[in-house]
Amino acid sequence: MSLAVIVSLNVLAVVAVVAVVGYLIDRSAER
């Protein structure tokens, strides 16, 4: 696998985790 593909997949994985955590925190403001 090329370097660019490995880097892209890693970045996407971290962004996905951040998006989920951010969404959960954001939602807590509505309770």
């Binding site: 370097l3 490995i6 880097v7 890693n10 970045v11 971290v14 962004v15 951040v18 955590v21 951010g22 925190i25 954001d26 807590s28 403001a29 309770r31």
Partner: protein
């Protein structure tokens, strides 16, 4: 004043400061005093910010001391490993405390789960920081060693665990994909942080006047998440190539401005004046000045980050 002096001045803040903040938090449960709880949460945030220069000045001191024959490098490495661990817990505690303060603004109170998280994290931080401080003292104070021979024996067999500074540095520099991944994430964290902080501060300056301050402040946890990404990736850069940063004047400016700008994020959450700005309201002159200076500081953080190789000696 030099780097070791700065480290000596700051290194007591995460240890003694956290003990005081935990004591205030526990006291707030016993006395059922809401104000005391708020102060302890604010204190955690401030201590987490100061932990950053405390840690970095320690790393700078270690670089200077490496060639010093009076200092055993293995003892310094043990202290450093403990400091990495303690700093991670401290920053997590600060982030959780900030989230509690944000919840208080939105809901009028922090959730029990978040307060419990802060309490658990802060107790773990106290333990980790006490160990860090104790190991740090052993570097230049052999008189505090209960068993000097045993200590000497331990220092001879330091094996890096997966959480050690050496192991993290090896991870960062030993794989070609780690540095570009961290760089990409550092930029994603940057726009997440600056994008939201810019919106909040532009509202204070008079733009988007139909929205209340509370409405734009709602987004601030996304900025703190961005800050979290950048602290993590930034620390990995520093651990991977400490000399590039700790002997670089642009990095000192970047960190100094980051501290002040971080305090502004706290200010926007805990001080009442910004919250009085409702839909259609003009912010008072002092709030506008705060917003303008905060924006300037964040731009400065980015500017000195980008100028690391040009003003300083990085890369």
């Amino acid at each position: 004043m030099n780097t070791p002096h700065v480290h000596l001045l700051l290194n007591h803040v995460p240890t003694v400061g956290t003990v005081i903040a935990v004591a205030l938090l526990i006291l707030s449960f016993i006395r059922k005093t809401d104000g005391l709880r708020r102060v302890s949460l604010e204190l955690f945030c401030v201590i987490a910010l100061i932990t950053l220069p405390a840690y970095l000045s320690g790393l700078g001191t270690a670089l200077q001391f490496e060639q010093n024959p009076d200092v055993v490098k293995a003892i310094m490495d043990r202290h450093h490993d403990a400091a990495v661990f303690g700093s991670i817990f401290m920053v997590l505690t600060g982030a959780a405390a900030w989230l509690c303060l944000w919840q208080r603004r939105r809901l009028g109170r922090s959730s029990g789960a978040m307060i419990g998280t802060v309490l658990v994290l802060s107790v773990l931080t106290v333990a980790a920081m006490a160990r860090t401080a104790s190991l740090g003292g052993e570097i230049r104070h052999p008189e505090i060693l209960l068993d000097p021979e045993a200590a000497a024996a331990v220092t001879a067999e330091v094996a890096p665990s997966f959480m050690s500074a050496a192991a993290i540095a090896q991870f960062v520099t030993g794989h070609t994909w780690v540095w570009p991944t961290m760089e990409a994430l550092h930029f994603i964290g940057l726009w997440l942080l600056f994008g939201v902080v810019m919106l909040v501060n532009l509202r204070m300056l008079g733009m988007m006047k139909s929205a209340s301050f509370a409405a734009v402040h709602r987004l601030l946890p996304w900025a703190v998440l961005g800050l979290g990404i950048n602290l993590t990736t930034g620390m990995m850069f520093v651990l991977g190539a400490p000399g590039q940063y700790l002997e670089n004047i642009a990095f000192f400016w970047k960190m100094g401005l980051l501290l002040l700008a971080g305090l502004d994020v706290l200010y926007l959450t805990v001080f009442d004046a910004p919250w009085a700005v409702g839909p259609g309201d003009e912010a008072p002159p002092l709030e506008k000045a705060m917003a303008a200076s905060a924006l300037a500081m964040w731009v400065g953080v980015m500017y000195f980050g980008r100028m690391l190789p040009f003003i300083g000696n990085a890369f």
